[in-house]
Amino acid sequence: MYGKGLRALSIATIAVMAIGLGLVFFYAPLDAEQGFLQKIFYVHVPLAIVALCGFVVGAVMAIQHLRTRDSRWDLRSYVAIHMSLIFAVGALITGSIWAKGSWGHWWVWNEPTLVSFLIVFLLYATYQPLRFAIEDPERQARYASVFAITAGAFVPMNFVAVRLSTAYLHPRVLGNTSNLPPRMALTFVTCLLGIALLYATLCMYELTAKHTRAQLRALRRLTDVPAAGGGRLQTQPRRSRSAAPTLSSTTTMSARTAGRPGA
């Protein structure tokens, strides 16, 4: 199910990112005010945009999970959110570097996007601890979905609120991309595409890995010898508690097209 287009996706990602990098260093013009440092914008802003979209995508998948009760949606939601969290950290770090370079401080409160990001990061950082704190896997998935939807709704509201409260000093390069000179715009869009592809590829890798592991477990269970009393022996040691969702064996089995071996 997963893993089919993975190679093509990876190649596309590397290609686009390579082109993007080339454009950044050799094609895009040097910014009049900020000089070379401005080029970090081509990494920072795409990371931020992709992270935010990822959080919202995670929320949408959580809605699907609650509607269909299919644990595969929960897995997708989980991967989307924790990958976005990593990208969000990247956005915070690059934003901080940019701030230091432009305005001399590692952190500025006058920059609403950065501040909103910090709050969003603090919220989503509780996602995995929350999951980890619930042992029943079905309840864990359900509660995580509720959280994902709440947090997903929170993201835009938070940005609005913080923006209202601060006088912005963020260079408004993103506000109107029409203001961007065409060479910068092209570079920016390419980098955005590259980071988006990177996000998609990493997510697919993780989904494939988890799915494969679940299929492996399902196969192992099929080869378990039924004990005399009717129970099943565990050939694998009991899995320790984890924050990551596990696909139930039936959804994994139905996803396979092959029939039961030896039936």
């Binding site: 029943d136 896997p137 079905e138 009717g230 129970g231 899995r239």
Partner: protein, 225 residues
Amino acid sequence: MAAVQVERLARRYGEREALSDVSLSLEPGRTLVVFGPNGAGKSTLLRVLATLLRPHEGSVRVFGRSLPREAWAVRGRVGLLGHEPLLYRELTARENLRFHARLHNVGEARVEELLEAVAMTERAAEPLRTLSRGMVQRVAVARAVLHGPELLLLDEPRANLDPAAVELVEPLIGASSGLTRVIASHDPAGGLAEADLVLGLRAGRPALLSPATEIGAAEIAGLYR
């Protein structure tokens, strides 16, 4: 129409199967007694029938209504007496029962009636935390039958009850109540005596299912080995 109709019910807890391939059919007014060692799935089965847990596979019909889709139609007609009394320790017996009465849209007169029936009228105004376990269990019985359920789900109902109390609650939850009952029990001889139908569970799977007349206490005891 069967009061309880279960077909190939499965309920998972993560990767473990709490219930698997359970089927049974119970006529109105009859008593099903479920035996099995700890962790066999007896309480899970009761909770599924009580609409507290949704079935993962298979079908469950109570009074002809399919769960979980039509659970709302079943809720007021089922009474559960589980391990927990489902009562607030800081409130008095009367306050607890009145609260449940309001939730089920039952009049206050019924509360007094039941307090009388379980011989708790005298101590109905004391917080539950000051009462003994046996008394709390009596109030729990009152709570379970307060709304006049047609199906009783009893999880080891006689735990914590002294013989006098057992006699007291018999007309409410015993065979003489005439209600359809599903009882989880650890007592092969006693349970068998009041059963019409017997289900034995082991590790979530049905190990035996038979009318009570065709089975003996020895076979039931075999479940626990």
